[in-house]
């Protein structure tokens, strides 16, 4: 492998190994970010062309906030890789839509990716070092080799799951009955469990429970991680409503349900600080090897604190693609270094009488 890449990877891994308690100093983060930027500028032709167009090149960039952000769409329109894509050990795809090609994210190694997963997951979901059976409501990796979420679940189950961990989605279908049986068994045994899955899979499961008049009171220490929002695939629930269901149906209070914010285009995931703080909160903290900016969509500049804007993420673990990603999600700063995700920047209620892109997307 590329010696520069190897050295950079090593530096980022070292930063990750120090854990999430202490943020990286500005100097350290900046130094590493600018070095990764230079590496990506040199290795990825499509990114280099963009940087030149934006007139932000390694010679002129001295601060991480100046690094040009790649739009999420770039992963759909191009092969965005800092190595020959045919040498990829993994390729994750966005779910895409019927009308749009999926985004593709290529990895030369998964070392940074897997390290990013474990170093953030443990402090946010298992601060008590519990080892619990993990009941996973996503397809197993064998059925979804190109799903970054399935890969992540595979990693965390292997690293942190106790005996009795299992997947409850098979060939795209939620296996609600076996899941309910498993829950009943653990409930009877007083065994706390850890449920992980997409928000819409949970909604389907809660609907199933309602239809069959089933409820559970899972043992203390039980917890859940939900992710993915709704992406128009099921009826929408507010976070409050969804978390209310965890409590009603499973006896898991909102203080033990954590939202994970991640995407195929990134290597790092972001979590609610709920379990770390001991109270339900929507505030998320970027782990030390990443930074999150809220940007004013009109100017592209950093928004004022407390103002809603577009989320821009700097992720040092994204060495093989793009360190800086402009997401399509709205967010707001949450006090200190925290931020909150407000949801996709969907088209606002259409004014006047013209159809716009958002409405037409559903045709």
């Amino acid at each position: 492998m590329d010696q520069t890449a190897l050295k950079l990877q090593h530096r980022v891994l070292a930063l990750m190994a120090r854990g999430v308690a202490q943020p990286a100093s500005e100097d350290e983060f900046n130094g590493l970010a600018c070095a990764v930027f230079e590496f990506q500028y040199e290795r990825c032709g499509v990114y280099r062309a963009y940087c030149e167009q934006q007139k932000c090149v390694p010679e002129t960039v001295s601060h991480w906030k100046q690094i040009p952000a790649v739009p999420a769409s770039a992963f759909r329109d191009f092969t965005l890789a800092c190595f020959p894509a045919e040498d990829a050990v993994a390729e994750f795809h966005t779910s895409g839509t019927t009308r749009q090609k999926p985004g593709r994210h290529f990895f030369h190694t998964l070392e940074l990716y897997d390290a990013a997963i474990t170093h953030a997951f443990a402090p946010h979901l298992l601060p008590d070092n519990a080892r619990l059976p993990m009941l996973v409501l996503t397809p197993p990796l064998q059925e979804a080799l190109q799903s970054s979420l399935s890969h992540m679940m595979d990693v965390v189950v292997r690293e942190f799951g106790a005996v009795g961990s299992a997947h409850y989605v098979e060939r795209g279908e939620l296996r609600a009955e076996p899941l309910a049986s498993a829950l009943r068994e653990h409930e009877r045994a007083g065994q706390p469990v850890f449920l992980l899955g997409t928000a819409f899979a949970f909604v389907h499961f809660f609907d199933y429970l309602a239809q069959h008049n089933l409820r559970f009171q899972m043992a203390d220490g039980s917890r859940a991680m939900e992710t993915g929002g709704f992406k128009s695939r099921s009826r929408e629930l507010s976070k409050k409503e969804l978390y209310g269901q965890f409590e009603n149906c499973l006896g898991i209070p909102p203080t033990r349900v954590v939202n994970e914010y991640g995407m195929t285009e990134l290597s790092t995931q972001f979590y609610d600080q709920t379990l770390r703080e001991g109270r339900q909160t929507d505030r998320k903290l970027a782990p030390p090897w990443s930074r999150v900016l809220i940007t004013d969509p009109t100017t592209g500049e950093e928004a004022n604190p407390g103002e809603r804007g577009l989320i821009r993420i700097y992720d040092l673990a994204n060495l093989w693609s793009a360190l800086c990603l402009q997401t399509e999600d709205l967010g707001v700063t949450g006090g200190g270094d925290a931020f909150e995700v407000l949801g996709r920047a969907a088209g606002a209620e259409v004014r006047g009488c013209s159809l716009n892109a958002e409405t037409l997307r559903t045709l």
Partner: protein, 427 residues
């Protein structure tokens, strides 16, 4: 300030009484009064214009310069002649059936049937107006007054100003006529109020998205006449014959006007310009000229305030296309300053892509104009207007193809936002 059920009932009573009083007046006299009221808006120092410019930006989000422009676009077409044409061409309310113009063609038998009824026009019309393009709503109000009906007008929260001011300006020239119109405001979610308004409606005119129109229709009496004007989209086509260096500045200016006015939020606003290859000016050069013209228009009539969500949509398109354009020469982007006031996106992929609006417009080259309908086919049921240049012998046949596709109006570039009054209610 939201209306109450009592106010709605009171308004219905009041306008019904006023309506009884105007039955003996001639429609020509009514047209004359409406035209006078409209004319009073047009002077540069008109107090109606001044009040609209002061009040409308806050709710519509438009700049005051845009509101000023909207006044001209809205009131200039409201002339006596146009109002009489509105009735004689078969105002949808004067005929049975929703395709007013079509049924007017069915002629004599219809006329005799109408004459035999004492009230062939609806007694009470309830109007549900849309967001911030004032013209269509005011056209319906004129129609409702010309048909000597009582009119209950529910404004949109986006534009409570124009309808209220218009009725006031009618009152200033003809109080008795204005008594036939009551302007009220309530939120769409207040279903009880909508039902209260609809119990007595003989006719309903509703503007909005398909869902809104459907929900209003569900609450309308089955025997009432219902006219729904859903959301539509428009586009424009430029043939190579008109693409010369001499024509370019004027053409670009006309195109920029069509794409910028009402911040592109009207159903007559073009999302895209298809430009024919092979002219003396290339489609890419047209796009560059269009960008210059968008910038000029912006300097004169600034785009309004956008919500964070709307601004994010513009930023997303700009980001995606700009990134692409750095490596892919089939794509080019021109952007209005550091604040995304407007975007022109040149893209060689001919498939029609809807814009996020707010002055974001696509320019797509085509080798053959005749291929355009296939690129638009997915949106055929949502089409309104096609701007076309030039309008000459060659393009007339093509205009026919556009009508077959589903376009309801073909007009010159620069005129897209200036439909005839009568068209507004038929189209």
């Amino acid at each position: 300030m939201s209306a109450t059920t009592e106010q709605i009932h009171e308004a219905i009573l009041r306008t019904r009484e006023a309506r009884d009083r105007v039955q003996l007046r001639s429609t020509d006299a009514i047209a004359a009064a409406l035209a006078r009221a409209a004319k009073n808006w047009l002077a540069a120092d008109s107090p109606w214009r001044r009040r609209a410019v002061e009040q409308a930006p806050a709710t519509t989000g438009f700049s005051s310069a845009m509101v000023n422009e909207a006044v001209d676009l809205t009131f200039a077409p409201i002339t006596e002649h146009a109002l009489r044409e509105l009735l004689s061409s078969g105002s949808p309310l004067a005929n049975e059936g929703e395709a007013g113009i079509a049924s007017a063609i069915s002629g004599e038998r219809e006329k005799r049937r109408r004459a035999s009824r004492s009230h062939q026009h609806p007694q009470i019309i309830v109007h549900f107006l849309a967001g911030n393009v004032p013209a269509p709503g005011l056209a319906s109000i004129c129609c409702g007054l010309l048909s000597k009906s009582a009119n209950l007008i529910k404004v949109s929260s986006r534009d409570p100003v124009f309808p209220a001011l218009f009725v006031e300006s009618v009152r200033a020239v003809d109080a008795e006529l204005a008594g036939c119109a009551a302007v009220l405001d309530w939120r769409r979610e207040e279903v009880t109020l909508t039902r209260a308004a609809l119990t007595e409606a003989d006719a309903v005119i509703a503007y909005g998205d398909d869902e809104t129109i459907a929900s209003i229709r569900r609450m309308t009496r089955p025997d009432a006449h219902f006219l729904g004007y859903g959301h539509k989209l428009s586009f424009a086509v430029i043939g190579k014959a008109v693409l010369t260096k001499e024509n370019l500045p004027r053409l670009a200016e006309a195109a920029a006007f069509d794409a910028s006015v009402y911040d592109q939020q009207g159903c007559l606003s073009p999302h895209a310009f298809y430009v024919e290859d092979g002219g003396l000016v290339s489609p890419r050069a047209f796009a560059a000229a269009l960008a210059e013209a968008m910038a000029s228009y912006q300097a004169r009539v600034p785009r309004g305030e956008l919500s964070v969500e709307e601004a994010a949509q513009v930023a997303k398109l700009r980001g995606a296309y700009e990134f692409r354009s750095a490596s892919d020469k089939s794509v080019a982007v021109w952007a209005g300053g550091g604040t995304n006031d407007w975007l022109v996106i040149y893209e060689e992929d001919p498939m029609f892509t809807p814009s996020c609006l707010n002055r974001v417009v696509f320019v797509k080259p085509v080798t053959r104009l005749e291929s355009i309908p296939q690129f638009m086919r997915r949106f055929a049921s949502s089409l309104s207007t096609a701007g076309l240049a030039p309008m000459d012998g060659r393009t007339t046949a093509f205009a026919g193809e556009l009508i077959k596709l589903g376009v309801s109006r073909v007009c010159p570039i620069g005129q897209m936002q200036r439909p005839r009054l009568a068209w507004q209610l038929a189209g």
